[in-house]
Structures are given as structure tokens and as C-alpha cells.
Symmetry: C2
Subunit: 141 residues, 2 copies
């Protein structure tokens, strides 16, 4: 269970909020749909709050709602907000710097990593929270 599913959970949470509109939603309620602990949801909402995607309120009548209209939130923003890792990791230990290949390969791989990141961002920019919400509502896949 060490695979990062934060993006999946984040989309789930935000779709729930999109459905509720102006109404504030409690972390406990979202946790039920996601099938996880409310604290996990609150931690996630913390990241989304920092990215200005949601607004939370403490207290007896507290809860969370979207900070913006679902049409104005793209999946790329969500992906960025919950810092998932890269598509692949660079070397754990730095390669042998005395080897001409070991010396230069990291820079090449790093550039490649950024290019892929950009590709993912472009793909995810094609979807808004609204469009995902509609796909789910209509049961269309």
C-alpha cells in the first residue's frame, strides 16, 4: 500500500465538493465515500487548501467547499497540488563521476524527467473538474 494514490483521492474529494456546490462538506463524510480515515482526508484537504483549490472552516458548522468554480479547476492543478513523485526517479546514489557516462547521464535524465512532467501536465490540462464530474455523473467511461 506504498503506492501514492493521493491524486486519485484528491480528484475524488474535489468531485464530492463540486457536487455539493456552496454547501460545506465534512471530512468525515468524504472519508466514507473514499473509504479511508477522516484524518487522511483532512491532510489532503490541507494541501488543496494551500493550493487555493478549497476553503475550509473549523468549528461546529465547519467543513470544506471549493474555492473556485469546477470549470476553472484543471486536473493539472490538482496533480501539482498533491506533490506526487515524478514518472521515474533519478539515481539513488550518484554515479561514478570518473566515468564519462556516469558523469553526464544525470543531467540528461533530469531534462528528460522535466519533459515528461510537462507532457503529463499538458494531458491533465485537457480536463477540468467539471468535465470529470460530468463523466462520473453520467456513468460514462
Amino acid at each position: 500500500m506504498a503506492a501514492n494514490s493521493q491524486f486519485s483521492m484528491a480528484v475524488h474529494v474535489l468531485v464530492m465538493l463540486a457536487k455539493s456546490g456552496e454547501e460545506k462538506v465534512k471530512s468525515e463524510y468524504v472519508a466514507g465515500s473514499v473509504n479511508t480515515n477522516a484524518v487522511v482526508i483532512r491532510r489532503l484537504l490541507g494541501q488543496l487548501s494551500q493550493a487555493n483549490l478549497v476553503i475550509s472552516q473549523t468549528g461546529a458548522t465547519g467543513g470544506t467547499r471549493l474555492a473556485r468554480c469546477p470549470k476553472e479547476i484543471t486536473l493539472a492543478e490538482i496533480f501539482k497540488a498533491v506533490s506526487c513523485g515524478e514518472a521515474f526517479a533519478l539515481h539513488g546514489k550518484t554515479p561514478d563521476q570518473d566515468c564519462p557516462i556516469g558523469k553526464n547521464i544525470e543531467a540528461v535524465l533530469c531534462r528528460l524527467q522535466k519533459e515528461i512532467d510537462k507532457s503529463i501536465g499538458e494531458k491533465l490540462s485537457q480536463y477540468t473538474l467539471q468535465s470529470v464530474f460530468e463523466m462520473i455523473e453520467q456513468g460514462k467511461v
Copy 2:
């Protein structure tokens, strides 16, 4: 150190083999440049061998060489050979199937996951082992 760097290591290994041409290379030698244990390299070579990217030979004069010309090996093939994970993981525990959103979200995310996978594949297809080798040789980034 639980981040998957197999792709980075695989590219490193294959560039080393590309440089050696027809000459067989020993796992111990590659391990030195990658700065890791030879067994880690052999495990990696096992995956690359199954993907028909390299050919290994046991015995006193054994070692590994490329199965094909570096111009005919793309980074997409390498990425596929070392099964790195997806860009993001689906829900760890299945969402509440009684919730209309929980019920449908997995299918939508799964399709999205595949689309991103395709994007990554397309980007990586733009590079051959030869082109990466040249970038590294020339120290160009």
C-alpha cells in the same frame, strides 16, 4: 530510497553497452559506473533480456551486449521493459460503492491513467538509445 530508479539505471546500463558495441560487458564493471551492487545490475539486465534488448552469456568469458543497434532501441521500450509504476496510483481501498461518485470514479481514473501512460510513451518514443548516447558523449544537455 524507496523511489523507483530502475528506468534511470536501465538507461545508464544500456548506454554503457552501446558504447562497448559488440564487446561483452561484465555486470561488475557496469555496477562501478552506476555506483551500485552488481546483483542489482544483473537483476536489471534480466528484465532487459526478457524484453529482448540485451543478450547475456554466463561463464568465464561471459557478459552482456546489446541485442540490437542503439538506433533501433527507443526509451519507450526501455521504460516498458523495467516495469515502473504509473504516474499515479488508483485508490488503495475500493471506494464506497453505494455512493454514486465512489461507484464510478475508479473507471474514470483508470482511463485517465492509461491516457497519461500513452503520453509518456509517445514522449519517450522520440528518443533512441543512440540519441541519448550522443547527448551524453557530447556533454550536451
